[in-house]
Protein backbone atom coordinates (compact mmCIF):
# COMPACT_ATOMS: atom_id res chain seq x y z
CA UNK A 1 0.00 0.00 0.00
CA UNK A 2 1.60 3.26 -1.10
CA UNK A 3 0.31 6.60 0.17
CA UNK A 4 1.08 9.55 -2.07
CA UNK A 5 -0.07 13.06 -1.22
CA UNK A 6 -1.00 15.58 -3.88
CA UNK A 7 0.89 18.81 -4.53
CA UNK A 8 -2.25 20.51 -5.89
CA UNK A 9 -3.96 23.26 -3.92
CA UNK A 10 -7.76 23.23 -3.84
CA UNK A 11 -7.75 27.06 -3.82
CA UNK A 12 -6.46 26.95 -7.41
CA UNK A 13 -9.09 24.46 -8.57
CA UNK A 14 -11.07 24.97 -11.77
CA UNK A 15 -14.30 23.60 -10.31
CA UNK A 16 -15.56 22.04 -7.08
CA UNK A 17 -18.69 19.94 -6.59
CA UNK A 18 -20.20 18.44 -3.46
CA UNK A 19 -22.14 15.22 -4.09
CA UNK A 20 -24.60 14.20 -1.36
CA UNK A 21 -25.04 10.55 -0.45
CA UNK A 22 -27.61 8.95 -2.75
CA UNK A 23 -26.95 11.43 -5.58
CA UNK A 24 -25.07 10.96 -8.83
CA UNK A 25 -22.38 13.00 -10.57
CA UNK A 26 -21.99 12.81 -14.37
CA UNK A 27 -19.45 15.06 -16.14
CA UNK A 28 -16.87 15.02 -18.90
CA UNK A 29 -13.23 15.40 -17.85
CA UNK A 30 -10.77 16.51 -20.52
CA UNK A 31 -7.47 14.86 -21.31
CA UNK A 32 -4.79 16.30 -19.01
CA UNK A 33 -7.20 17.46 -16.32
CA UNK A 34 -6.68 16.15 -12.81
CA UNK A 35 -9.47 15.61 -10.32
CA UNK A 36 -9.70 14.58 -6.69
CA UNK A 37 -12.49 12.69 -4.98
CA UNK A 38 -12.57 13.53 -1.26
CA UNK A 39 -14.18 11.34 1.40
CA UNK A 40 -15.35 14.37 3.41
CA UNK A 41 -16.58 12.66 6.56
CA UNK A 42 -14.90 9.23 6.22
CA UNK A 43 -15.95 5.64 5.48
CA UNK A 44 -17.96 6.60 2.41
CA UNK A 45 -17.97 4.50 -0.77
CA UNK A 46 -17.96 6.28 -4.15
CA UNK A 47 -19.10 3.90 -6.92
CA UNK A 48 -17.52 5.12 -10.15
CA UNK A 49 -17.63 4.22 -13.85
CA UNK A 50 -15.42 5.80 -16.54
CA UNK A 51 -16.05 6.00 -20.29
CA UNK A 52 -14.17 7.16 -23.35
CA UNK A 53 -16.02 10.44 -24.00
CA UNK A 54 -16.19 9.64 -27.73
CA UNK A 55 -17.62 6.12 -27.33
CA UNK A 56 -19.14 4.74 -24.11
CA UNK A 57 -18.67 1.14 -25.30
CA UNK A 58 -14.98 1.82 -24.65
CA UNK A 59 -15.00 1.98 -20.88
CA UNK A 60 -13.26 1.17 -17.62
CA UNK A 61 -12.71 -2.57 -17.35
CA UNK A 62 -12.05 -4.01 -13.90
CA UNK A 63 -10.79 -7.31 -15.32
CA UNK A 64 -8.37 -5.69 -17.78
CA UNK A 65 -7.11 -3.29 -15.10
CA UNK A 66 -6.54 -6.10 -12.59
CA UNK A 67 -4.82 -8.29 -15.16
CA UNK A 68 -2.62 -5.47 -16.48
CA UNK A 69 -1.22 -4.64 -13.03
CA UNK A 70 -1.37 -8.22 -11.70
CA UNK A 71 -3.08 -6.98 -8.55
CA UNK A 72 -6.63 -6.80 -7.23
CA UNK A 73 -6.45 -3.44 -5.47
CA UNK A 74 -6.29 0.05 -6.93
CA UNK A 75 -3.84 2.60 -5.52
CA UNK A 76 -1.42 5.36 -6.55
CA UNK A 77 0.25 4.35 -9.80
CA UNK A 78 -2.64 2.20 -11.03
CA UNK A 79 -3.53 2.73 -14.67
CA UNK A 80 -7.25 2.34 -15.33
CA UNK A 81 -7.50 0.24 -18.50
CA UNK A 82 -10.50 0.05 -20.82
CA UNK A 83 -12.02 -3.03 -22.45
CA UNK A 84 -10.16 -2.08 -25.66
CA UNK A 85 -6.86 -1.74 -23.76
CA UNK A 86 -6.79 2.07 -23.72
CA UNK A 87 -5.39 3.78 -20.63
CA UNK A 88 -8.26 6.02 -19.56
CA UNK A 89 -6.77 7.46 -16.37
CA UNK A 90 -3.90 7.13 -13.90
CA UNK A 91 -4.24 7.34 -10.12
CA UNK A 92 -1.67 10.03 -9.28
CA UNK A 93 -2.27 10.54 -5.56
CA UNK A 94 -3.97 8.52 -2.85
CA UNK A 95 -4.10 9.04 0.91
CA UNK A 96 -6.42 6.07 1.51
CA UNK A 97 -4.14 3.36 0.13
CA UNK A 98 -6.46 0.76 -1.31
CA UNK A 99 -9.65 0.85 -3.36
CA UNK A 100 -11.93 -1.99 -4.43
CA UNK A 101 -12.94 -3.03 -7.92
CA UNK A 102 -14.30 -6.54 -7.21
CA UNK A 103 -17.43 -5.80 -5.21
CA UNK A 104 -19.43 -3.94 -7.84
CA UNK A 105 -22.24 -1.54 -7.05
CA UNK A 106 -25.25 -2.13 -4.88
CA UNK A 107 -28.52 -2.60 -6.74
CA UNK A 108 -32.07 -3.00 -5.48
CA UNK A 109 -32.08 -6.48 -7.04
CA UNK A 110 -28.84 -7.68 -5.44
CA UNK A 111 -30.05 -6.21 -2.13
CA UNK A 112 -32.97 -8.67 -2.23
CA UNK A 113 -30.45 -11.53 -2.38
CA UNK A 114 -27.96 -10.15 0.12
CA UNK A 115 -30.40 -8.93 2.77
CA UNK A 116 -34.12 -9.53 2.18
CA UNK A 117 -36.63 -9.53 -0.66
CA UNK A 118 -38.52 -6.91 1.34
CA UNK A 119 -35.59 -4.44 1.08
CA UNK A 120 -36.13 -4.09 -2.67
CA UNK A 121 -37.29 -0.48 -2.43
CA UNK A 122 -34.25 0.84 -0.55
CA UNK A 123 -32.20 3.26 -2.65
CA UNK A 124 -29.14 1.78 -4.35
CA UNK A 125 -26.19 2.88 -6.49
CA UNK A 126 -27.47 1.34 -9.69
CA UNK A 127 -30.73 3.28 -9.42
CA UNK A 128 -28.68 6.49 -9.21
CA UNK A 129 -26.85 5.46 -12.39
CA UNK A 130 -30.16 4.62 -14.10
CA UNK A 131 -31.51 8.08 -13.26
CA UNK A 132 -28.27 9.69 -14.44
CA UNK A 133 -28.35 8.05 -17.87
CA UNK A 134 -32.10 8.68 -18.22
CA UNK A 135 -31.72 12.39 -17.41
CA UNK A 136 -28.61 12.82 -19.61
CA UNK A 137 -29.13 11.08 -22.96
CA UNK A 138 -26.54 13.47 -24.43
CA UNK A 139 -23.77 11.19 -23.12
CA UNK A 140 -25.10 8.24 -25.13
CA UNK A 141 -24.78 5.87 -22.16
CA UNK A 142 -27.39 3.10 -21.86
CA UNK A 143 -27.89 0.05 -19.64
CA UNK A 144 -25.59 -1.87 -22.04
CA UNK A 145 -22.74 0.28 -20.73
CA UNK A 146 -23.44 -0.12 -17.01
CA UNK A 147 -20.80 -2.54 -15.84
CA UNK A 148 -18.28 -3.44 -13.13
CA UNK A 149 -17.15 -0.30 -11.35
CA UNK A 150 -14.58 1.02 -8.91
CA UNK A 151 -15.53 1.49 -5.26
CA UNK A 152 -13.26 4.28 -4.10
CA UNK A 153 -12.59 4.20 -0.34
CA UNK A 154 -14.09 0.71 0.00
CA UNK A 155 -12.13 -2.13 1.60
CA UNK A 156 -12.89 -5.62 0.23
CA UNK A 157 -10.02 -7.90 1.24
CA UNK A 158 -9.52 -11.26 -0.51
CA UNK A 159 -7.89 -14.06 1.50
CA UNK A 160 -5.40 -16.62 0.11
CA UNK A 161 -8.12 -19.25 0.77
CA UNK A 162 -10.47 -17.44 -1.64
CA UNK A 163 -12.73 -15.63 0.83
CA UNK A 164 -14.06 -12.13 0.21
CA UNK A 165 -15.65 -9.78 2.74
CA UNK A 166 -16.83 -6.22 2.96
CA UNK A 167 -14.63 -5.02 5.80
CA UNK A 168 -14.75 -1.80 7.76
CA UNK A 169 -13.44 1.07 5.72
CA UNK A 170 -9.81 2.07 5.92
CA UNK A 171 -10.79 5.56 4.85
CA UNK A 172 -11.24 8.51 7.20
CA UNK A 173 -12.44 12.14 7.03
CA UNK A 174 -10.55 14.10 4.37
CA UNK A 175 -8.88 11.10 2.71
CA UNK A 176 -8.78 11.39 -1.05
CA UNK A 177 -7.83 9.82 -4.33
CA UNK A 178 -6.63 11.88 -7.28
CA UNK A 179 -6.69 10.86 -10.95
CA UNK A 180 -5.30 12.31 -14.15
CA UNK A 181 -7.34 11.84 -17.34
CA UNK A 182 -5.17 10.33 -20.09
CA UNK A 183 -8.01 10.78 -22.64
CA UNK A 184 -11.25 12.78 -22.77
CA UNK A 185 -13.40 10.75 -20.40
CA UNK A 186 -16.85 10.78 -18.84
CA UNK A 187 -17.11 10.06 -15.12
CA UNK A 188 -20.30 8.64 -13.60
CA UNK A 189 -20.35 8.52 -9.79
CA UNK A 190 -22.99 7.18 -7.46
CA UNK A 191 -22.31 8.40 -3.95
CA UNK A 192 -23.38 5.17 -2.29
CA UNK A 193 -26.68 5.15 -0.31
CA UNK A 194 -26.24 1.61 1.11
CA UNK A 195 -27.50 1.27 4.70
CA UNK A 196 -27.18 -2.51 5.10
CA UNK A 197 -23.43 -3.05 5.39
CA UNK A 198 -20.34 -1.28 6.74
CA UNK A 199 -19.19 0.11 3.37
CA UNK A 200 -20.48 3.54 4.45
CA UNK A 201 -20.20 2.93 8.19
CA UNK A 202 -24.05 2.60 8.12
CA UNK A 203 -24.16 6.40 7.68
CA UNK A 204 -23.79 7.61 4.06
CA UNK A 205 -22.13 11.03 3.85
CA UNK A 206 -21.13 13.55 1.13
CA UNK A 207 -18.07 13.48 -1.11
CA UNK A 208 -16.38 16.33 -2.95
CA UNK A 209 -15.07 16.35 -6.51
CA UNK A 210 -12.32 18.92 -7.19
CA UNK A 211 -11.10 19.52 -10.76
CA UNK A 212 -7.89 21.22 -11.96
CA UNK A 213 -6.92 22.13 -15.51
Amino acid sequence: MSLIESQLNSENATARFTVAAGDYFLKEIKQGQTFRIVDLEGNQAADVLFYNAKDPSDRYSAMDTIRAQGNLYLSAGTKLISNTQNTLLTIVADTCGRHDTLGGACATESNTVRYSLEKRCMHACRDSWMLAIAEHPEFGISKHDITHNINFFMNVPVTPEGGLTFADGISAPGKYVELKAEMDIVMLISNCPQLNNPCNGYNPTPIEVIVWN
Partner: protein
Protein backbone atom coordinates in the same frame (compact mmCIF):
# COMPACT_ATOMS: atom_id res chain seq x y z
CA UNK B 1 -26.12 -34.01 -5.12
CA UNK B 2 -25.78 -36.73 -7.72
CA UNK B 3 -27.49 -36.66 -11.06
CA UNK B 4 -28.40 -39.48 -13.35
CA UNK B 5 -25.85 -39.80 -16.17
CA UNK B 6 -28.47 -41.57 -18.27
CA UNK B 7 -30.07 -38.16 -18.69
CA UNK B 8 -27.08 -36.92 -20.72
CA UNK B 9 -28.49 -36.65 -24.23
CA UNK B 10 -25.71 -34.95 -26.22
CA UNK B 11 -21.91 -34.99 -25.97
CA UNK B 12 -19.46 -32.87 -27.91
CA UNK B 13 -15.96 -31.42 -27.68
CA UNK B 14 -14.82 -27.78 -27.89
CA UNK B 15 -11.26 -27.59 -29.25
CA UNK B 16 -8.77 -25.55 -27.23
CA UNK B 17 -9.25 -22.43 -29.36
CA UNK B 18 -12.94 -22.89 -30.18
CA UNK B 19 -16.12 -21.03 -29.25
CA UNK B 20 -19.82 -21.85 -29.16
CA UNK B 21 -23.14 -20.50 -27.90
CA UNK B 22 -26.49 -22.09 -27.18
CA UNK B 23 -29.66 -21.53 -25.21
CA UNK B 24 -30.10 -23.75 -22.17
CA UNK B 25 -33.57 -24.28 -20.73
CA UNK B 26 -34.49 -24.07 -17.06
CA UNK B 27 -33.90 -27.55 -15.60
CA UNK B 28 -31.20 -28.58 -18.06
CA UNK B 29 -27.64 -29.69 -17.27
CA UNK B 30 -24.29 -28.75 -18.75
CA UNK B 31 -21.26 -30.78 -17.72
CA UNK B 32 -17.75 -29.66 -18.68
CA UNK B 33 -14.71 -31.93 -18.49
CA UNK B 34 -11.05 -30.97 -18.90
CA UNK B 35 -9.98 -33.81 -21.20
CA UNK B 36 -6.18 -33.49 -21.05
CA UNK B 37 -5.59 -31.21 -18.04
CA UNK B 38 -4.78 -27.50 -18.39
CA UNK B 39 -7.97 -26.44 -20.16
CA UNK B 40 -9.73 -23.10 -19.67
CA UNK B 41 -13.39 -22.68 -20.57
CA UNK B 42 -14.62 -19.08 -20.48
CA UNK B 43 -18.36 -18.54 -20.10
CA UNK B 44 -20.95 -15.74 -20.13
CA UNK B 45 -24.71 -15.84 -19.50
CA UNK B 46 -27.58 -13.68 -20.80
CA UNK B 47 -31.35 -13.83 -20.39
CA UNK B 48 -32.73 -14.59 -23.88
CA UNK B 49 -35.96 -12.71 -23.05
CA UNK B 50 -34.01 -9.58 -22.04
CA UNK B 51 -30.44 -9.57 -23.26
CA UNK B 52 -29.64 -6.64 -20.95
CA UNK B 53 -29.84 -9.07 -18.04
CA UNK B 54 -26.42 -10.70 -17.84
CA UNK B 55 -24.07 -12.65 -15.61
CA UNK B 56 -22.72 -10.39 -12.89
CA UNK B 57 -19.43 -11.50 -11.35
CA UNK B 58 -19.35 -8.86 -8.57
CA UNK B 59 -22.87 -9.75 -7.40
CA UNK B 60 -22.06 -13.48 -7.62
CA UNK B 61 -18.96 -13.03 -5.45
CA UNK B 62 -20.26 -10.58 -2.88
CA UNK B 63 -23.63 -12.35 -2.46
CA UNK B 64 -21.76 -15.52 -1.49
CA UNK B 65 -18.76 -13.90 0.26
CA UNK B 66 -16.32 -15.65 -2.03
CA UNK B 67 -13.51 -14.86 -4.46
CA UNK B 68 -13.53 -18.32 -6.04
CA UNK B 69 -16.33 -20.33 -7.63
CA UNK B 70 -16.87 -23.92 -6.53
CA UNK B 71 -19.59 -26.53 -5.96
CA UNK B 72 -22.55 -25.00 -4.15
CA UNK B 73 -22.15 -21.55 -5.66
CA UNK B 74 -24.93 -20.01 -7.72
CA UNK B 75 -24.20 -17.80 -10.72
CA UNK B 76 -26.21 -14.58 -10.47
CA UNK B 77 -27.51 -12.11 -13.01
CA UNK B 78 -27.48 -8.37 -12.36
CA UNK B 79 -31.23 -8.67 -11.62
CA UNK B 80 -30.84 -10.81 -8.49
CA UNK B 81 -31.71 -14.05 -10.26
CA UNK B 82 -29.75 -17.29 -10.61
CA UNK B 83 -28.80 -18.37 -14.13
CA UNK B 84 -27.20 -21.63 -12.98
CA UNK B 85 -25.98 -23.56 -9.94
CA UNK B 86 -22.73 -25.52 -9.66
CA UNK B 87 -24.24 -28.85 -8.59
CA UNK B 88 -21.25 -31.12 -8.98
CA UNK B 89 -17.52 -31.07 -9.53
CA UNK B 90 -14.78 -33.65 -9.78
CA UNK B 91 -11.22 -32.70 -9.00
CA UNK B 92 -7.93 -34.54 -8.77
CA UNK B 93 -7.23 -32.41 -5.69
CA UNK B 94 -8.89 -33.23 -2.38
CA UNK B 95 -9.82 -29.65 -1.59
CA UNK B 96 -11.90 -29.37 -4.70
CA UNK B 97 -12.02 -27.05 -7.64
CA UNK B 98 -11.50 -23.33 -7.78
CA UNK B 99 -12.69 -21.32 -10.76
CA UNK B 100 -11.73 -17.75 -11.68
CA UNK B 101 -14.23 -15.02 -12.57
CA UNK B 102 -12.15 -11.82 -12.42
CA UNK B 103 -9.37 -12.12 -15.01
CA UNK B 104 -11.41 -11.78 -18.19
CA UNK B 105 -10.08 -12.81 -21.58
CA UNK B 106 -6.88 -12.99 -23.55
CA UNK B 107 -6.62 -10.30 -26.25
CA UNK B 108 -5.13 -10.50 -29.74
CA UNK B 109 -2.01 -8.49 -28.85
CA UNK B 110 -1.26 -10.65 -25.78
CA UNK B 111 -1.63 -13.87 -27.78
CA UNK B 112 0.59 -12.50 -30.56
CA UNK B 113 3.34 -11.48 -28.13
CA UNK B 114 3.23 -14.83 -26.36
CA UNK B 115 2.64 -17.33 -29.17
CA UNK B 116 2.36 -15.53 -32.51
CA UNK B 117 -0.25 -13.85 -34.67
CA UNK B 118 -3.65 -15.33 -35.50
CA UNK B 119 -3.46 -16.47 -39.10
CA UNK B 120 -6.21 -18.61 -40.61
CA UNK B 121 -4.60 -18.58 -44.06
CA UNK B 122 -1.61 -20.42 -42.67
CA UNK B 123 -2.96 -22.33 -39.67
CA UNK B 124 -6.56 -23.13 -40.70
CA UNK B 125 -8.56 -24.17 -37.65
CA UNK B 126 -5.41 -24.47 -35.56
CA UNK B 127 -5.22 -20.65 -35.60
CA UNK B 128 -4.21 -18.79 -32.44
CA UNK B 129 -7.62 -17.44 -31.50
CA UNK B 130 -7.99 -15.09 -28.53
CA UNK B 131 -10.78 -15.08 -25.96
CA UNK B 132 -11.95 -11.50 -26.45
CA UNK B 133 -12.51 -11.89 -30.19
CA UNK B 134 -14.11 -15.31 -29.66
CA UNK B 135 -16.72 -13.72 -27.39
CA UNK B 136 -17.23 -10.80 -29.83
CA UNK B 137 -18.13 -13.32 -32.55
CA UNK B 138 -20.68 -15.12 -30.36
CA UNK B 139 -22.12 -11.84 -28.99
CA UNK B 140 -22.69 -10.46 -32.49
CA UNK B 141 -24.91 -13.45 -33.34
CA UNK B 142 -27.48 -12.09 -30.86
CA UNK B 143 -27.16 -8.40 -31.72
CA UNK B 144 -24.77 -7.82 -28.82
CA UNK B 145 -21.40 -6.10 -28.84
CA UNK B 146 -18.41 -5.20 -26.72
CA UNK B 147 -20.57 -3.05 -24.42
CA UNK B 148 -22.40 -6.23 -23.40
CA UNK B 149 -19.30 -8.25 -22.53
CA UNK B 150 -19.25 -8.65 -18.75
CA UNK B 151 -16.57 -10.20 -16.57
CA UNK B 152 -16.71 -13.89 -17.48
CA UNK B 153 -16.09 -17.16 -15.68
CA UNK B 154 -12.89 -19.09 -16.46
CA UNK B 155 -13.71 -22.71 -15.60
CA UNK B 156 -10.75 -24.90 -14.52
CA UNK B 157 -8.51 -21.85 -13.92
CA UNK B 158 -7.48 -21.14 -10.33
CA UNK B 159 -6.31 -17.59 -9.68
CA UNK B 160 -5.06 -16.87 -6.18
CA UNK B 161 -4.20 -13.60 -4.46
CA UNK B 162 -1.72 -12.91 -1.68
CA UNK B 163 -2.38 -10.48 1.18
CA UNK B 164 -1.11 -7.58 -0.92
CA UNK B 165 -3.53 -8.47 -3.72
CA UNK B 166 -0.96 -9.85 -6.18
CA UNK B 167 -2.58 -12.48 -8.39
CA UNK B 168 -1.17 -15.58 -10.03
CA UNK B 169 -2.58 -18.48 -12.06
CA UNK B 170 -2.08 -21.63 -9.94
CA UNK B 171 -1.80 -24.55 -12.33
CA UNK B 172 -1.31 -27.15 -9.59
CA UNK B 173 -4.97 -28.26 -9.52
CA UNK B 174 -5.28 -28.69 -13.29
CA UNK B 175 -5.71 -32.33 -14.23
CA UNK B 176 -7.31 -34.52 -16.87
CA UNK B 177 -10.79 -35.53 -15.79
CA UNK B 178 -11.60 -32.44 -13.72
CA UNK B 179 -15.24 -31.61 -14.33
CA UNK B 180 -17.96 -29.12 -13.39
CA UNK B 181 -21.70 -29.59 -13.77
CA UNK B 182 -24.15 -26.71 -14.03
CA UNK B 183 -27.90 -26.92 -13.55
CA UNK B 184 -29.76 -24.06 -15.19
CA UNK B 185 -32.29 -22.34 -12.95
CA UNK B 186 -33.72 -20.15 -15.73
CA UNK B 187 -33.64 -20.10 -19.50
CA UNK B 188 -30.13 -18.89 -20.31
CA UNK B 189 -28.15 -17.91 -23.37
CA UNK B 190 -24.69 -19.44 -22.81
CA UNK B 191 -21.57 -18.16 -24.59
CA UNK B 192 -18.30 -20.07 -24.25
CA UNK B 193 -14.79 -20.30 -25.61
CA UNK B 194 -11.86 -22.57 -24.77
CA UNK B 195 -9.07 -20.09 -25.57
CA UNK B 196 -6.18 -19.88 -23.07
CA UNK B 197 -6.61 -18.10 -19.75
CA UNK B 198 -5.13 -14.58 -19.98
CA UNK B 199 -2.50 -15.43 -17.32
CA UNK B 200 -1.40 -18.61 -19.11
CA UNK B 201 2.35 -18.53 -19.91
CA UNK B 202 2.92 -21.97 -21.46
CA UNK B 203 5.68 -22.11 -24.05
CA UNK B 204 3.28 -23.20 -26.80
CA UNK B 205 -0.33 -22.08 -27.35
CA UNK B 206 -2.20 -24.62 -25.20
CA UNK B 207 -4.78 -26.30 -27.42
CA UNK B 208 -6.65 -27.92 -24.52
CA UNK B 209 -10.07 -29.34 -25.45
CA UNK B 210 -13.13 -29.50 -23.21
CA UNK B 211 -15.83 -32.17 -23.32
CA UNK B 212 -19.37 -30.79 -23.11
CA UNK B 213 -22.32 -32.96 -22.10
CA UNK B 214 -25.90 -31.69 -22.16
CA UNK B 215 -28.81 -33.29 -20.37
CA UNK B 216 -31.75 -32.96 -18.04
CA UNK B 217 -31.57 -32.25 -14.31
CA UNK B 218 -33.60 -33.76 -11.50
CA UNK B 219 -36.13 -31.35 -9.94
CA UNK B 220 -34.72 -28.97 -7.31
CA UNK B 221 -35.67 -30.21 -3.85
CA UNK B 222 -35.96 -28.20 -0.63
CA UNK B 223 -32.76 -29.81 0.67
CA UNK B 224 -30.84 -28.97 -2.50
CA UNK B 225 -27.13 -28.44 -1.82
CA UNK B 226 -26.79 -25.20 -3.81
CA UNK B 227 -30.04 -23.71 -2.54
CA UNK B 228 -28.85 -24.20 1.04
CA UNK B 229 -25.18 -23.42 0.47
CA UNK B 230 -25.75 -19.82 1.58
CA UNK B 231 -28.85 -18.09 2.98
CA UNK B 232 -28.47 -15.65 0.08
CA UNK B 233 -29.01 -18.52 -2.37
CA UNK B 234 -32.40 -19.31 -0.83
CA UNK B 235 -33.43 -15.75 -1.61
CA UNK B 236 -31.97 -16.04 -5.12
CA UNK B 237 -34.11 -19.13 -5.71
CA UNK B 238 -37.12 -17.16 -4.39
CA UNK B 239 -36.45 -14.47 -7.00
CA UNK B 240 -36.36 -17.15 -9.71
CA UNK B 241 -39.67 -18.59 -8.50
CA UNK B 242 -41.22 -15.12 -8.73
CA UNK B 243 -39.86 -14.79 -12.27
CA UNK B 244 -41.61 -18.04 -13.29
CA UNK B 245 -44.83 -17.26 -11.41
CA UNK B 246 -47.77 -18.51 -13.46
CA UNK B 247 -45.59 -20.20 -16.07
Amino acid sequence: MKFNMSKIIYTTEIPGNGHWSLEMRRGSLLKMTDIQGGANLAMLFYNPRNLLERYNAPDTLKCQHTFKLQKGNCLYSDMGRIFASIIDEQSAQKDGCWHDTICGNSHADQIEKRWGARNYQQDRNQWLQNGYDAFLVELAKYGLGRADMASNINWFSKVIADDAGNIVLDESIQAAGNSVTLRFEMDTLVLMHACPHPLNTEKEYPFKPVKIELGEADPVRDDDYCKNFRPENQRGFQNNELYYLGR
